[in-house]
Every structure is written in C-alpha cells, then in structure tokens.
C-alpha cells in the first residue's frame, strides 16, 4: 500500500466540519446518489461501461457450454469475477486477493447469485450433460468510492444486455447445434428480479463512548460515498433490496454500531432509490433494444407477424 493515498488530518477535519453543517463536498444531499452514465455496447452482447461519478467500471458477460454439477443436473453455472487492480487506485495491490477485494466480491456475489436473480434452470440444455456457464467479469477501471453498489448495478445491467446464442437439440437429445447469432436471433437471459445494493457510510461527530453505549444518536449517514468520504467513514452498511420490497442482504462488517431504528428507517428510505435504479435499467435496456431493432431492419424479416 502506498502512503500517498492516505488522507491528511486537515482534509479529514474539514470534511467532518462540513458534514456537521449538513454539507457534502460535492454538494449532494446526504441521501443522494451520483448520476450513473451508462454506455452499452452496440456491437456485442453483454459489454457495458458504467461511469458512476468518477468510479468507472467495465462489465463483460460471457457464456460457454459446460457440464453441470453432479448434484444439480438441471442448473446452469453462474459465476461473478471481481477484478480490482492497482489501476483503479494505488492502494489496491495487484499481487494477492486482499480482504477488501474478497469482501466486495462476496457481497456482490451474494446479492446476485445467492438471491437467485438469474434463473439457473433456464440455462439447462441437456440435463446432467450440457448447461450454459455464464460468467460476469467486473473490471474496475477507476476508483472513486462505492465499488459494491456500482458493481452490483453494473452486473445486473450487463446481464440484461447479454444474449446467448440460440440452440437446437437434434438426434433425439444426443447432439446440439449452436446457431450463430447472424443465423438466428440470440436469446436473452431470464432474470427473475433485480437486486440493488445501497451502501450507507456513517460518521460519528460526537463522543465515541457515549455513542457506543447508545446514549446519543447523532450519527450522520451518507449514501453512495465517494473516495474521500469512504476513507474518513467510521462504518458502513450494505442494504440490498429489490423492487418487490424484499430485503435480500444486510451486511455490516464492523464499524461503529447503528441503532435498530435507524436501520429500519434507512431500509425503508432506500426503496425509493431502488425503484428509480430498477426503472433506469429497464429504460436503458428497452431503448437500446429498440435502436438495435431499427438498425438491423428486423421488421423486414417479420413475414407473418402482422397477419
């Protein structure tokens, strides 16, 4: 870890003082996220670049045909790889998996994979023999805080964008033909729900001891912290929700304690942002689909559709 990535005491005090006055350095409200800038690849399926403030992320989804696990013959394979290198921030080291990286990867994985947001049974081709193996690679290109939320959003966006080649089974289930995407329209993945992670960072401007004992509740909560905010924070919590008002994950790894009422309050408040982000994914994807449809002149191929 290089020393020059650490934040100075002056900056820290300035930041905390600003928070006490109800201000964030980038003039956002405390519960406001940065506006995501999305660019979807026009030429290939499942490549997405996402700018979230200065945090930059590239996501690539790929599909291969593989053999299922023996105890789950009907389920496809799905994995999420998280690549955090020192390219994003000098603090991260390239050599081995740091705890930070494992934690981030695991929170994203739990949000998406363990909550069954991808229908794995729909990835089955021949039971026990051949299934689709879907891999999501998250490459963080620049770090300005909040990898978890950005990673989860980016992965869900890319999964919506991705399409796998069509397949037909021949010889009574013995062989399969993988159709080229130019030959037959590729098929999208079946996604059951869209988990959205929201990270709250908290700061305790008052006395640590009375805070721990629960005598005063004056912690400050910030949504979507950027790099400085993340370095100064004294604790964080990840809340993962979906549009159906289901709580998918709560994860608080250390940091100053938060009171139960605040937790409830935060999770209820999060619903609004979850709805907005889910809507955004749907909107961007359907716009993209429409453009592609017009560009490829698919209308001309639809012979019998309007009869």
């Amino acid at each position: 870890m290089s020393r020059n990535t650490e934040i100075s005491t002056n900056e820290r005090t300035y930041f905390i003082e600003a928070l006490k006055c109800g201000l964030r350095l980038d003039s956002r409200r405390f519960d406001e996220i940065r506006e995501p800038q999305i660019s979807l690849s026009k030429t290939e399926f499942g490549y997405v670049e996402l700018d979230w403030g200065l945090t930059k992320l590239a996501v690539r989804v790929s599909a291969q045909i593989g053999k299922p696990y023996e105890d789950r013959p009907f389920e496809g394979l799905f994995q999420i790889n998280c690549e955090i290198s020192s390219m994003a921030w000098a603090h991260f080291d390239n050599s081995k998996n740091s705890n930070e990286e494992i934690l981030i990867a695991r929170i994203i994985e739990k949000a998406i994979r363990r909550s069954n947001s991808l229908d794995l049974e729909a990835l089955c081709i021949i039971a026990g023999e051949k299934v689709w193996n879907i891999t999501v690679d998250l490459n963080f290109l620049n770090f300005d805080g909040n990898f978890v939320d950005v990673g989860c959003f980016g992965a869900m966006l890319a999964l919506h964008h991705f399409k796998k080649p069509d397949i037909s089974i021949v010889n009574g289930g013995e062989d399969i033909i993988v159709h080229d995407i130019d030959e037959r329209q590729p098929v999208p993945l079946s996604i059951l729900h869209v988990p959205i992670c929201l990270t709250y960072s908290f700061y305790n401007p008052g006395n640590k001891e009375s805070n721990l004992k629960g005598e005063d509740d004056d912690e400050i909560y910030l949504l979507d912290a950027n790099l400085i905010e993340e370095q100064v924070r004294e604790g964080s919590i990840v809340v993962t929700l979906n549009k159906n008002r289901e709580l998918i994950q709560l994860s608080k790894n250390g940091g100053i304690p938060i009171s139960a009422n605040v937790l409830l309050d935060l999770s209820f408040k999060s619903m609004k942002i979850v709805d907005e982000l889910t809507e955004l994914i749907k909107k961007v994807i359907s716009k993209h689909e429409k453009e592609r449809y017009e560009e490829l002149n698919l209308k001309m191929l639809e012979v019998g559709a309007d009869r």
Binding site: R106, G254, G255, S259, S267
Partner: protein, 241 residues
C-alpha cells in the same frame, strides 16, 4: 419436514421465542492463553483462545495508534455430520473472519493498547446453526477473561422468518431452509455492531425479526454476565483465603 407446526412448536420442540440451551465457561485454558472461553449454543460449540496484548511478530502489524486484532477462524473437519476438509482461505471464511475483526476493533478499546497485537483463535468444534453468533459470543467472553478493556459485551443472536412468524435462535436445519439474520448487540442497548442477512426476507417483516433478535441478544448478554460474575466470585474468594 415441518419446521413450524400449527400448534406453534418447532422441529426441536421450542416455541418461536425460545433460545437453545446456552452454556458458557470462561478461563477454560488458563495455562496456554491469556484469556479463553467455551460456548455451547444448542449443538454449536466453539472454543476461543486469546493471546495478548503482546508485541507483534511482524513490524507491519504494529499500529502506533491502536492495537491490531487478528482473528484466526478454524472450523474442524468433524464439525458437521458429513466430514469435510475446510480451507481457511475459502471466501466465506475470510469474510467471517474479517467481519469479526472489524466488529471487535470498535468494541475493544484499542486505543489503550497501541503497538500491540491481540490474537484471537476460534475453533468451531460443532456446527448447528448460528456459527457467527456463537463465535462472537465466545470472543467477547475470552476477551473479558484476558482482561482486555471493552466498552460493553457484544452479544450475538440469530433470528429467522418462517412464513409470517419470526423464529429466535435458528438451529442448523432451520438455517438451511429459512433466511437467517445474525445480529450483534452492544450491551443492553439497541445498537447493532454486527449485521448479516444472507437470504430474502420481506422488508415489512424486518422489524419483528429484528426486535426478537435484539431481545434474544440481551438474554445472552445476561447469561454471559452471570458466568463472568460466577467466575469472578470464585477468583476473589481464592484471593481472600
């Protein structure tokens, strides 16, 4: 298999708001450690051994502002019915270990022990649900036994949701089938220092699950406290004689 019968009984005969048999001992390994404890929560059994505060072996572990906590979590191969070799570098293990380290970094008064290392070894002998909670409780007791200053007890408890009913202190079978929330509470307050939910639960049910889990943690705190006091009394009577 019926996890919660219409009569309101669970698979092991408990009601919804009952915790499992809770046994704890401190100072179990007085010769090999500075602090130690043993905990049974139902069939989940954990030994915790604390060394320190001591001089760290590596320079890099010394922090000039506060003590460094190092947790080693080892789960025995025979801890489940199916014998299985477990590696320490498994993602799940690393996550649990980091969670414990970070939780206690705040609850222990680390600023009193600068440039030292506190090493905590956790051995899970038997797993039957609520492993993280049992580890947290064992760590609290062992740190108290070691005489390390803490703000208050960190008492942890699990709770789950079956249909509409919150269930307190899940066992292994229940944990496999239901979503489980693990919380760690500081002393008798409603402050949560540890929080882990791994499966879906409706947002509107969160409050009831959280409430029962907090009540359970307070109960565990009392049980741990009475063990600490019992041990303290034995010690002080020895000193007096």
């Amino acid at each position: 298999m019926e996890l919660y019968s219409p009569e309101g009984l669970r698979i092991d005969g408990r009601r919804w708001n009952e915790i499992r048999n809770f046994e704890c001992r401190i100072n179990t390994h007085p010769n090999s450690s500075d602090g130690s404890s043993y905990i049974e929560q139902g069939n989940t059994k954990v030994i915790c051994v604390v060394q320190g505060p001591m001089e760290p072996a590596l320079r890099s572990q010394a922090n000039s502002n506060e003590a460094t906590l190092e947790v080693n979590l080892s789960v025995a191969n025979f801890s489940t019915t199916e014998r299985k070799k477990r590696s320490k570098s498994e993602k799940r293990m690393v996550q649990l270990k980091t969670t414990l380290e970070r939780t206690f970094q705040q609850s222990v008064m680390c600023n009193l022990y600068p440039r030292t290392l506190i090493r905590i070894d956790l051995h899970v002998l038997s797993q039957d649900g609520g492993m993280l909670a049992a580890c947290t409780n064992a760590m609290t007791l062992a740190l108290i036994d070691a005489g390390v200053s803490m703000y208050d007890y960190v008492a942890a408890m699990t709770a789950g949701l079956h249909d509409q009913t919150p269930l307190l202190d899940m066992n292994g079978l229940e944990e496999n089938d239901m979503s489980t929330l693990t919380i760690g509470v500081i002393g008798k307050s409603e402050k949560l220092s540890l929080l882990m939910l791994e499966d879906k639960i409706p947002l509107d049910r969160l409050e009831s699950v959280l409430a029962i889990a907090i009540a359970g943690s307070h109960k565990i705190r009392d049980l741990m406290d009475s063990e600490v006091r019992r041990h303290g009394n034995i010690r002080s009577s020895k000193l007096a004689s």
